[in-house]
């Protein structure tokens, strides 16, 4: 008899837990999983288990204890792996969970794929995972040759999956595990105050290396103001020149956004940047280099000097609004 295929999904508190656990039921279904085990760790694990019991998991394992460190979660999952023998261990992709996944894969000597944008199975029921490579220019497919497969799921992937309606309530199990002693102390935690929220902006005006100096931001600000848009930028402006805060950076190492309208001004269009705006409805590029790759990924482009075009554009929009 073939053994039952189990999946462990670790849901941490930082995420949209409900959405993730529901998405998990769909992944489980797609991957031929018969036993979907959702793992909750932390001081509120039992309470969350009750709240999530209609979210599609077959079993919810609640482990009460300190969940502050990735090392702890990885050790807990390691112990649960022995008990549940999963074919797949998964969690959402954030900084913390990628640390958990990396340590878990190392301790179990299994393969790990972070930031998966799709999961499926082949005809032999091996788990397949897709992820972006080389900064997002291509999507690579991987097969897991060993079980359990360890994956972290990109936020956009989780957001796209529709949860299945739960057939029955999850069975809640309170597990006691041995928590490791970790020679680390969390001595403080403060929220990062965000002054902008690019991910929910309707129009984003982004600027890149085509801008000659910081003072010239004024012409970009004028356009943004006229369009009621937020200002974004490519990596050199925030990470290298530090003209704008990192929270305005669009791209692989910044924000992934989905505005109605995206302006890429003086941005050459390296894939690492473009991948952050690929879900925009309309992309407009302004660049003086006619061979800039940004024109290949734009709906509309203007070839020319941003210092001439941007003020004219601002003026035209202003005049149009007044007429």
């Amino acid at each position: 008899m073939m053994k039952e295929r189990s999946m462990l999904l670790f849901a941490n508190e930082n995420n949209n837990m409900q959405g993730l656990v529901q998405a998990g039921s769909n992944i489980a279904h797609k991957s031929g999983i018969e036993n979907y085990v959702c793992v909750l760790v932390g001081p509120k694990a039992k309470r969350h288990a009750e709240e999530l019991k209609d979210s599609g998991a077959d079993v919810i394992v609640a482990v009460e204890g300190n969940s502050a460190f990735p090392e702890t979660i990885s050790t807990v999952l390691q112990q649960l792996t022995k008990k549940y023998q999963p074919v797949l261990i998964t969690m959402s992709s954030d900084v913390f969970n990628k640390e958990v996944a990396a340590r878990l894969a190392a301790s179990l000597d299994k393969g790990c794929i972070t930031d998966c944008i799709d999961l499926s199975t082949d005809e032999n029921a091996n788990i397949l995972a897709d992820r972006l490579i080389y900064g997002g220019i291509a999507v690579a497919s991987y097969v897991f040759d060993k079980e359990p497969a360890i994956c972290t799921l990109s936020q956009s992937f989780v957001g796209k999956i529709k949860g299945k309606t739960a057939n029955s309530e999850a069975k809640i199990i309170y597990e006691n595990v041995d928590f490791p002693n970790i020679s680390k102390d969390l001595i403080g935690s403060r929220k990062i105050e965000r002054t902008v929220d690019l991910s929910n902006s309707e129009i984003v005006v982004s600027v890149g290396r085509g801008l000659n100096k910081k003072e010239d931001m004024a012409i970009i600000e004028d356009l943004a103001k006229e369009l009621n848009a937020e200002i974004g930028c490519s990596r050199p402006l925030s990470e290298d020149f530090k003209w704008l805060p990192v929270e305005r950076q669009v791209g692989l190492t910044g924000e992934t956004i989905k505005p109605k309208l995206y302006f890429a001004i003086g941005i050459s269009g390296q894939i690492q940047h473009v991948v952050g705006a690929k879900d925009a409805k309309i992309i407009v590029a302004i660049n003086n280099n006619k061979n800039a790759p940004i024109f290949d990924v734009a709906d509309y482009g203007i070839k020319g000097d941003l210092y001439e075009i941007v003020p004219k554009l601002t003026e035209t929009i202003r005049a149009k609004k007044q007429s």
């Binding site: 930082n14 460190f69 090392e71 954030d94 900084v95 990628k98 990396a102 340590r103 894969a105 190392a106 000597d109 299994k110 393969g111 790990c112 930031d115 995972a129 490579i133 900064g135 997002g136 220019i137 291509a138 690579a140 497919s141 991987y142 097969v143 040759d145 060993k146 497969a149 970790i182 680390k184 001595i187 403080g188 935690s189 403060r190 990062i192 990470e239 990192v246 692989l252 190492t253 309208l261 894939i271 690492q272 991948v275 309309i282 407009v284 003086n288 024109f295 290949d296 990924v297 734009a298 709906d299 509309y300 482009g301 203007i302 020319g304 001439e308 075009i309 004219k312 035209t316 929009i317």
Partner: protein, 260 residues
């Protein structure tokens, strides 16, 4: 104090292009460089060395050309470097690379601090740092934006998506660094040229106690089946900026799209 910095020699992914005829990636002849994040790790190690009595050793698994990256790191102020260059292991998955690196760090011995970039420029897997720590049975702190080292401990601010955590940890520890941590110094071409290659030692798998067909290295957890070019289909309507009506035309288009 002994500090190890793990360094990856990468292809410059911003130079990767698509062959439009075959729809395949053009990966030959692409410039290679030291992964940016690792440069910040070297800079941080050199700064710590400036404050405490420390020796900084660079460690890399990669092609022979990785010597270029190591020389750059040595010119920045690291003391010595170890390169493990064997064809068989270049394309191993992150878990395996981390296992080899942790074996090499054990061989170096008596290490107080291991620094890595939070991610590599080419892979962005964000796995190797924490996985090395697992192999060394050490705690780790990832995405550090600030590190204060004392003789027996570190205090680190690390950046998550929504918060900054301050952590105190006894040495030894592994720390991965974010790009906000510092601005790496730029050695001149002459400084890099002047670095004596005698500072770079080569290790092989046998020296680490592995054979080339070692089961531990052969038995990969994942295998890449292939890739497809990410689709980015757009209208690609390009207007000449020199024409006086191009801006009006753009605004008409945007109007019709219903986005302004």
């Amino acid at each position: 104090m002994e500090i190890v910095v793990c360094v990856k020699h990468v292809v410059d992914t911003t130079e990767v292009r698509i062959d439009r005829k075959t729809n395949e990636l053009i990966l030959r002849g692409i410039p290679t460089k030291i992964s940016d994040y690792d440069k910040h790790a070297i800079e941080e190690a050199v700064r710590i060395k400036g404050k405490l009595n420390a020796t900084v050793t660079l460690l890399s698994i990669g092609p022979k050309e990785a010597v270029k990256s190591l020389k750059e790191g040595l010119a920045m102020g690291a003391d010595k470097a170890v390169l493990i260059s064997e064809k068989e292991i270049e394309n191993l998955e992150p878990t395996k690379i981390a296992y080899l690196l942790s074996s090499a760090i054990k061989k170096l011995g008596n290490i107080s601090l291991v620094l890595c970039g939070a991610v590599s420029e080419d892979g962005y897997n964000a796995q190797v740092g924490p996985a090395i720590a697992e192999g060394l049975n050490l705690p780790h702190i990832a995405y550090a934006g600030e590190i204060k080292v004392e003789s027996n401990s570190v205090t680190v601010d690390r950046y998550l998506e929504d918060r900054i955590e301050s952590l105190k940890c006894e040495l030894p520890v592994l720390i991965t660094v974010d790009r906000r941590i510092n601005t790496p110094r730029l050695p001149t071409v002459i400084q890099v040229m002047k670095v004596s290659t005698s500072k770079i030692v080569s290790w092989n798998l046998a020296g680490l106690g592995f054979s080339r067909d070692d089961a531990v290295l052969q038995d990969a957890g994942t295998r890449m089946l292939g890739y497809r070019i990410a689709s980015m289909d757009r209208k690609n309507i390009v207007l000449e900026g020199e024409r006086s009506d191009s801006i009006d035309e753009l605004i008409n288009h945007l109007d019709n799209e219903g986005v302004v």
